[in-house]
Symmetry: C2
Subunit: 495 residues, 2 copies
C-alpha cells in the first residue's frame, strides 16, 4: 500500500480522513476530483460531512461534475455547503438548492476552472489518485475533471490514494493545461486519439499536506435498459444518420460522437452495434457502458472523455483488463474534453437530453417549471454550441401524458434556437437546419409533439402568427401549459 507513494519523502503525510478533514476550515474554497461520480473523494469529503455535524463549517465546494456515494447529500444535510459548483445530481442537495439554502452556480463544464483565475481563490484541493509518482505528481483514477487546475491553484493539497484502482491506469490520462492569458497557445489535438500532454498531474510536493488511503470503488452507473421510448428515439437518430450518409454529408465513419449521460445515449450507441457504421470515434465528456460494448463489438475505434462512469460489471471488464482497452480510450481534463475550439475543430456530433423544448427549438436542460433546478447544464452547452450537429432528445410526453415536453415557450432557456439543429422525441425527428423560426415551429409540431397536445400547440402557433413577428408568441399564454400543470397536475385542458 505505502508503495503507492513512490516519492518516499511524502510517506509521512499519511493520515486518517478525519485528520485530513481538519485542514479544511470554515469559509474555505475547496476543489475536489470527481466527474459524473467517477474518481471522487471517498474519505475526506464524507469525514468533512461528519465534522460539519458538530461544528460551524461552511465551505464553497467545486468539483469536476457530480459526486458519487451520496456525498453531496451528506455534505448538504450536515450544512457544510455554502456554495456548490459546477454540477450536481444529488436529490438532497438539489432540494436545499431549490429552497435557497445552498447557493449553486450552474456552469459550462469547460469554463468552471476559469473561475479560479478570477476572484475566487482555492484553499484546498482533494484529489483521488491511483498512486503518487516519484516526482510527487499524481496518477489520477477514473476521471480527470478539474483536478489539474485544482492541483495547480490550491494552497494545500490532500490526496486520496484508492487502492481499488490498479496502478496500470498510468498512461490512460492525457494531462494538458492551457497556458495563462495572454500567452495561451494552440491545443494541438486534431483527432480524438491525439495525446498531447503528460501522464500525471503535476503538483508541488510541498503543498501536499495529507495523504489518505481508501479502498472503495466508484458508485456504479445506474443501468438504464432501453424502453420503447428510448428505442424509438434511437431509431429516429440512426435513420437520420443513414440518410446523411446517403446524401453524402457524412460517411459511414460519421464524425466524433458526444453523448450525454442516460438512457437515450445508451440506446443510440447500442443501436450502432447492428448498423453499417464502422470505425466510429467518441469525443465526449463521459464514457458509459455502451462505449465499451461498442469497442468490444469492433464498431468503435477510440473514445476520448474526462471520465469513465460505468456499471459494476463494466468496471471489472475495463479496469481488470486494461491492457485490452488502454489504446482505445483516453481521459482528459474537462477544459480540454469540453473546450469549444476542439469541438468545432473536430466537428462533433453532439447528442444531449432536454427537459423540454419549444416550438422554435429553444431547449431547457435544467429547470422544472422555470424555477427548480434538476442537475445543471453540464457540458451540454459546450457541445451544442460548437458541434457540427447539435441534437437534443426528450420524450414527447410523460407522467401518463399529463406533461408535454414540447411547449409553446420553454420556461428556462439553456440552449437558444441558434444552437439546436435536430430535435428528437419518441414521436419523431425534426431537422431544423436551414429553417427560419416559423418553419422550425411547423416542423417541430409536425414531427415531435405527442398527439394529445398537437392540436393545442398548432392552435397556439397559428394564433401567434396572426399577431405577427419574426418569432410569433402570445406572451400572455406562453407559460399557460406550465401554470396549468402547477395548478391542476396536468398540462391538458379540460375538454
Amino acid at each position: 500500500m505505502i508503495e503507492r507513494i513512490r516519492l518516499e519523502s511524502l510517506r509521512d503525510k499519511v493520515t486518517t480522513a478525519e485528520n485530513a478533514a481538519q485542514i479544511i476550515k470554515n469559509g474555505m474554497v475547496v476543489g475536489t476530483s470527481g466527474f459524473t461520480k467517477a474518481g471522487d473523494s471517498k474519505a475526506v469529503l464524507p469525514a468533512l460531512a461528519e465534522k460539519g455535524k458538530t461544528e460551524d463549517l461552511k465551505i464553497t465546494l467545486m468539483t469536476g461534475a457530480s459526486l458519487g456515494h451520496g456525498t453531496d447529500g451528506k455534505l448538504a444535510e450536515a450544512g457544510v455547503l455554502a456554495k456548490r459548483m459546477p454540477f450536481q445530481v444529488d436529490p438532497i442537495l438539489r432540494k436545499k438548492i431549490n429552497e435557497g439554502e445552498i447557493l449553486f452556480i450552474d456552469q459550462h463544464l469547460s469554463e468552471s476552472a476559469e473561475i479560479l483565475h478570477g476572484k475566487t481563490k482555492l484553499d484546498v484541493a482533494i484529489i483521488e489518485a491511483a498512486y503518487i509518482d516519484r516526482d510527487g505528481s499524481i496518477v489520477p483514477t477514473t476521471s480527470v475533471g478539474n483536478s489539474v487546475t485544482f492541483a495547480a491553484m490550491a494552497k494545500k493539497v490532500i490526496i486520496e490514494i484508492n487502492t481499488q484502482v490498479p496502478e496500470e491506469v498510468y498512461g490512460i490520462h492525457d494531462i494538458y493545461q492551457a497556458e495563462d492569458y495572454p500567452h495561451r497557445n494552440v491545443i494541438p489535438i486534431v483527432a480524438p486519439w491525439n495525446k498531447i500532454g503528460r501522464k500525471t498531474i503535476p503538483v508541488d510536493p510541498d503543498k501536499i499536506e495529507a495523504i489518505v488511503f481508501t479502498n472503495v470503488k466508484d458508485s456504479p452507473a445506474d443501468i438504464a435498459e432501453p424502453d420503447h421510448k428510448t428505442t424509438a428515439i434511437a431509431k429516429h437518430i440512426l435513420r437520420f444518420f443513414e440518410n446523411e450518409v446517403k446524401e453524402g454529408r457524412l460517411t459511414d465513419r460519421l464524425l466524433p460522437l458526444q453523448a450525454g449521460i442516460g438512457k437515450v445515449a445508451n440506446a443510440v450507441l447500442t443501436g450502432f452495434k447492428h448498423s453499417n457504421f464502422y470505425d466510429l470515434t467518441m469525443f465526449s465528456e463521459v464514457l458509459q457502458d455502451s462505449t465499451f460494448d461498442l469497442i468490444d463489438a469492433g464498431v468503435l475505434s477510440f473514445a476520448s472523455a474526462s471520465s469513465v462512469t460505468v456499471s459494476k460489471e463494466c468496471y471489472e471488464r475495463v479496469f481488470g483488463n486494461l491492457s485490452k482497452y488502454r489504446d482505445k480510450f483516453v481521459l482528459r481534463p474537462q477544459n480540454i474534453s469540453n473546450t469549444p475550439g476542439l469541438i468545432r475543430r473536430l466537428g462533433i456530433i453532439a447528442i444531449n437530453t432536454a427537459i423540454e423544448f419549444d416550438i422554435y427549438g429553444n431547449v431547457n436542460s435544467t429547470h422544472l417549471v422555470g424555477t427548480k433546478i434538476m442537475n445543471g447544464i453540464g457540458g451540454s452547452g459546450d457541445f451544442a454550441r460548437n458541434a457540427y450537429l447539435s441534437i437534443f432528445v426528450t420524450q414527447a410526453a410523460s407522467k401518463e401524458n399529463k406533461v408535454s415536453h414540447v411547449l409553446p415557450m420553454v420556461s428556462h432557456t439553456d440552449h437558444t434556437e441558434h444552437d439546436v439543429d435536430i430535435l428528437v422525441t419518441d414521436v419523431g425527428l425534426a431537422d431544423l437546419r436551414g429553417l427560419a423560426p416559423r418553419e422550425r415551429a411547423q416542423t417541430i409540431i409536425d414531427n415531435c409533439v405527442h398527439p394529445d397536445y398537437k392540436e393545442e400547440l398548432q392552435s397556439y402557433f397559428d394564433r401567434a402568427c396572426r399577431r405577427g413577428g419574426h418569432t410569433p408568441h402570445l406572451l400572455e399564454e406562453a407559460f399557460s401549459w406550465h401554470m396549468r400543470f402547477s395548478e391542476t397536475g396536468t398540462m391538458k385542458k379540460d375538454k
Copy 2:
C-alpha cells in the same frame, strides 16, 4: 480601369450590372460580400431588385452581415427575398420579416458559412473586389465576411470591381479557411496580429461569369456622438477595468477587445484615450472610427476584424493613407474573426449591446416584446460565450422611462446567464462572476435598474424567492411588464 483585371483572359467577362443580374434565376441561393455595410454589392444586387419588380424572382440571400445603401430594403420591397440570412439592419426588410413575408435565419456569424456544407447549396456568389489578381484570385475590399466560402462553394461567381477602393488594399486581408471535416486542422493564431493565410481569395477563373465595374463608396457609418447615458456606461466599464488591474487580474494592456457596433462601444473606446491603458489590441468583427482614433492616439497597437465600417471622414483617413495603417490592422473571414476557439484562446474582453436583460442576467439582443426582431444576434453569441470577460450594456430605461431594460424575465433569450459576466447600464455595473442566481438578481437590482423600476423589481424577486427555486420566478407575472407596455404604452404600474 480594365487593368484591375490582371488575368487578361477574364477581361471579356466585363458586362453591365443588369446583364450580370440575369445570371440569377428564380429559386436560387445567392451569397454576397458585405459585412456591416462594408464591401457589399453596389450594382448587381440593386439591379436584381429592379429586375424583381417586373418578373417572378424569389431568392435566398446570404451575406456576411448587413448591407449598405438600402439594398436590403430595395430587394425586400421588390419581393425578391424569399429567405435572408444571417444578419440585417434594414427597416423595410425588418418589417417584412416581422410580418412573416420574408423568412429570416438569425445566425451566429461564425457559423453562417457552415450551412453551405450541409443541405443548402450556393448557386451564385457576388463579391466586391479591389482587383482580380493575375491568377484569377480576388483582392477583397473593406470586408471579408463569408466571401471565401462563397467563392469556393458557388457554382457561378460575379465580381464587382470597385474603383473607389485603392489597389493598395492588397495585403490588409488574411485569407485563411479551415479544411473540411474530418481533416480540419489547428488555426495557428495566438495573437491578434498573426497573419496565417493568403492575401487574396482563391476562385476558379472558369466559374467567373461576369465582372461589373462600380465606383461607389461604402455607406458611411452613422456618427454616434456619446451622450450622457453612453458616457456613464463607458465610465463604469473603465472604472471596472482599472479595478481589475489594481487587483492583479488584468494588466494595463488588458486583453484583446471586441466591441459591438454602436454608441456605447464608441464611448468606451474613446474613454481609453484619456486613461493609463496602453498597447491595447482588438480582436473584433468590425472596426469603427474609434479604432482608428485610438491607433492615431498611440493607445491601440493592432486591430483584427472582418470589416472596416467607418464615417466618410475616417474612410478617407484610412484608405487615403494605407501605408500609415497597413501594419496596424487586418481583415479576416468571419469564421476566423468570430471563431469560438480563437476567442477562448486569446482571452477576449467582449462588450456587446443588449436590448434587455433580466434579474438573473439572461440577455435579449434581438427581439422587441419577445416577437419582433430588430437586427439579429450577429457575432455577440460567438464572443459572449467564449470570451474571458463577457460584458453586456444597455440603458436602464428609455422612452421617457416608460420602458425598463432590466426586467423580471427577458421575453427572448439570446445569451443565457451562463454566458454573461458583467452587466452595465447608465445606473451602474453588476459584476456577476462567481455568483449564484439569487446573488446575481440582488446585485443587478442594486446596481443596474432605473430608480423608477427598482421597487417593483425588488418586490418581484422577493415574492418569487418566497415561492422558492434555484431561479425563483412567478411565471404568471414574468412577462407582465412587457404586456403592460403593449397594452398601455408604458411598463409603469398605475399608482
